[in-house]
C-alpha cells in the first residue's frame, strides 16, 4: 500500500512538474485517492495530498466536510443542578474541518484573505439562525469550535505542508474513525505576499464500502425486515447460549 502510494506519487509528480511551465499554471495538486472507503476494519486513515507550484509562495490546504446544522446549548445551575437553559442554532457548519499550511498562517495570508476564504476555525462563517448580540454569539461560536475539536472532527492545530525542493509539496490529511460520510472539498491555495495567487478545489468522497455499507443500506431501505432480523438474531443467540450451557 505504502510502496504503491509512493510510486503513484512519484509518477504523478514526474508528470506534474514537466508541463507545468508550458501551461503557465501556478498550482497543480491532487490526492493519492479520491475515495476514502469505510470498511469493517476502518480505524481512521491518511490521504496524501501532493502537487507542484510555479514561482514563489506558500501553500495552504483547507479540508471541509459536508455542512450540517448544529445546536449549541448552554447549561446553568437551577435549584442545585445543571440544566440546559439557552441554545443557539447554527446552520452551515462543516462536519469536518482541517487546515494544513507550509508555514505560519498569519505570516502567509493577510487577515482579510483568511477571513474571506474561511482559513482557520476562527474564520469560519458561523452565523446563528436567530440574530443575537455579538458578545453572546462569540461565546456560542467559541463553544462550538471547542466541542467540535473535542470530537476530533475539527483539527485544533494547523497540519504541515512539506515542501520538496522549490516546486513540489505534499501533506498528509488525517481522517479519524468517526469521520462523517459525504463529499468533501479539498481546497489548495497558493499565497504570495499575503494574497492568493492560485487556487484549486478537489473533491474527496468518504463513503461506506462493503459489509458496513450493505448493513447501513439495508437498515434504511428495508427497516421492518431489518428489525425482524435483528430480533431473530438476538433470540437465536440467546437460545444457542442457553442450549450450549445446559450441556456444560
Amino acid at each position: 500500500m505504502r510502496i504503491q502510494q509512493s510510486l503513484r506519487l512519484m509518477i504523478a509528480l514526474a508528470c506534474l512538474s514537466c508541463p507545468l511551465a508550458a501551461h503557465g499554471q501556478a498550482l497543480v495538486a491532487d490526492l493519492s485517492s479520491h475515495l476514502v472507503a469505510i470498511t469493517t476494519g476502518f480505524a481512521g486513515t491518511d490521504v496524501l495530498l501532493f502537487g507542484a507550484v510555479e514561482g514563489p509562495g506558500d501553500v495552504v490546504v483547507v479540508v471541509r466536510g459536508p455542512d450540517q446544522r448544529e445546536i449549541v446549548r448552554y447549561k446553568a445551575r437551577v435549584a442545585g443542578i445543571f440544566v440546559n437553559r439557552k441554545e443557539m442554532a447554527f446552520s452551515r457548519v462543516p462536519s469536518f474541518y482541517e487546515v494544513a499550511a507550509s508555514g505560519e498562517l498569519d505570516k502567509i495570508a493577510s487577515a482579510s484573505e483568511r477571513a474571506r476564504l474561511e482559513i482557520g476555525s476562527e474564520n469560519l462563517r458561523l452565523i446563528p439562525e436567530v440574530e443575537r448580540d455579538p458578545a453572546t454569539v462569540a461565546d456560542y461560536r467559541a463553544a462550538l469550535i471547542r466541542n467540535k475539536e473535542a470530537q476530533g472532527l475539527w483539527a485544533p492545530n494547523v497540519a504541515k505542508v512539506t515542501s520538496l525542493g522549490a516546486r513540489l509539496f505534499r501533506a498528509n490529511l488525517y481522517f479519524p474513525s468517526n469521520v462523517p460520510v459525504g463529499i468533501y472539498q479539498v481546497q489548495v491555495f497558493l499565497f504570495h505576499d499575503g494574497e492568493v495567487r492560485a487556487a484549486q478545489t478537489t473533491p474527496l468522497s468518504i463513503s461506506k464500502i462493503g459489509a458496513s455499507a450493505d448493513i447501513y443500506e439495508f437498515a434504511h431501505r428495508a427497516d421492518a425486515a431489518y428489525g425482524a432480523i435483528a430480533i431473530a438474531l438476538a433470540l437465536a443467540a440467546g437460545w444457542a447460549a442457553s442450549a450450549i450451557f445446559r450441556r456444560v
Partner: protein, 306 residues
C-alpha cells in the same frame, strides 16, 4: 482489534466491547435485570451516539434475557400468567412513554429528564431494597421466624377488583396491580432506554409479594418481549439499531448471563437483593454527582435536523 460499526458510524475495540457485554450479562443473569442502566451510559461514554446506544442495547437485551429466561424456565421459575398481565400494562405504558419522549426532545430537556429519572428511580429502589435486605439478613441471624406469607398485601391492594389466582407464584391478587406495575415500567422503558428489570424485580417482591425464586425468571421473560417490541419500533422509526454492535455485545452478554444465573443459585435472596441495591445506589450517586458538579464545559453541541 478495531471494528467499524455501520450504524453508530465509528470504530471501537472488539475486545473492549466483548468485555463490556460479559460484565453487563453477568449482572443481568445474577439479578434478573437487563443492565441497561449501566450499559447505555457506558456506550454513550465511549462515543456511541445516544439514540444508537439506546436502540442497540434493546436489541442486545433480547439475547441476554432470552438465554436467562430459558435457564429459569427449565427450573420452572417463570410465572407466565403474571408476566402476560404485566406485559399488557407494559404496552400501554411504553406507547405513553414514547409520546412523552418526543415532547421532551422538542424542548431540549430529554437528557435532564433521563438523568433525573435515573437518580430518583434508582435511588429510591436502591434504598428500599437495601434496608429490606438488611433487615431480613439481621432477622435470619437472630433466627427469628420469617414473616407469615398470608395477608402480606396491604389492605388497599386486597380490596381491589379483578382478583386473579397466580398459581406459580401462589398468590391471589387483583390483576390491576401487576397491570399498573407493568404500565409504569413501560413508561420508564421508553424514557430511560432500559429493560426496566431493576424496578420490576422489587415491585414483584414488595408490591405483589411474589417468591424471589420466580421473580427473576418472570422479569426476564417480560424483558424479552418488551425489548423485542422496542427493537422493532426503533428499527422502523429511527434506524438506529446497530446489529454489528449488538452481536458483539450479545456474545459477551449471553456468556455472562449464564455464569450470572448460576452464581445467583449459590446466593441467598436477600444477599442478591442487597448487592443489587448497592449497585443501583452507586449508579444513582454517580449521576447525581454529574448533575450537581459544574461540568467541564457548560456548552454542549448536538446535531440538529433542519
Amino acid at each position: 482489534m478495531q471494528i467499524y460499526l455501520p450504524i453508530a458510524e465509528l470504530s471501537l475495540n472488539v475486545f473492549g466491547l466483548l468485555g463490556l457485554g460479559v460484565v453487563v450479562g453477568f449482572l443481568s443473569g445474577l439479578f434478573g435485570i437487563g443492565g441497561g442502566f449501566l450499559l447505555t451510559p457506558l456506550l454513550i461514554f465511549i462515543g456511541v451516539p445516544h439514540a444508537v446506544a439506546v436502540s442497540t442495547h434493546a436489541n442486545q437485551l433480547i439475547a441476554a434475557s432470552a438465554s436467562g429466561a430459558l435457564a429459569h424456565w427449565r427450573r420452572n421459575a417463570v410465572d407466565f400468567r403474571m408476566g402476560l398481565v404485566m406485559l399488557l400494562g407494559g404496552f400501554v405504558g411504553s406507547t405513553l412513554g414514547v409520546w412523552l419522549f418526543k415532547a421532551l426532545s422538542r424542548i431540549g430537556q430529554i437528557e435532564l429528564v433521563i438523568s433525573l429519572s435515573y437518580v430518583v428511580v434508582l435511588g429510591l429502589v436502591g434504598l428500599l431494597m437495601l434496608s429490606e435486605s438488611g433487615i431480613s439478613m439481621l432477622r435470619q441471624r437472630r433466627k427469628a421466624p420469617p414473616k407469615p406469607r398470608a395477608g402480606r398485601h396491604p389492605y388497599w391492594v386486597r380490596v381491589l377488583p379483578f382478583r386473579m389466582r397466580f398459581y406459580r407464584s401462589r398468590i391471589y391478587i387483583s390483576a390491576l396491580v401487576p397491570f399498573v406495575v407493568g404500565m409504569f415500567v413501560g413508561v420508564l422503558v421508553a424514557i430511560m432506554g432500559v429493560g426496566g428489570g431493576f424496578i420490576m424485580v422489587p415491585a414483584m417482591i414488595y408490591l405483589l409479594g411474589m417468591p424471589t425464586a420466580v421473580v427473576t425468571g418472570t422479569s426476564l421473560f417480560q424483558i424479552v418481549v418488551i425489548t423485542a417490541n422496542v427493537t422493532f419500533l426503533q428499527a422502523l422509526t429511527t434506524q438506529t439499531v446497530d446489529v454489528v454492535l449488538a452481536l458483539i455485545l450479545m456474545i459477551g452478554g449471553v456468556l455472562g448471563a449464564q455464569v450470572g444465573a448460576r452464581t445467583g443459585g449459590y446466593l441467598k435472596g436477600e444477599q442478591v437483593r442487597g448487592l443489587l441495591a448497592l449497585l443501583l445506589l452507586a449508579v444513582a450517586g454517580k449521576l447525581l454527582y454529574d448533575l450537581v458538579v459544574t461540568p467541564a464545559d457548560l456548552y454542549s453541541i448536538s446535531r440538529g435536523g433542519s
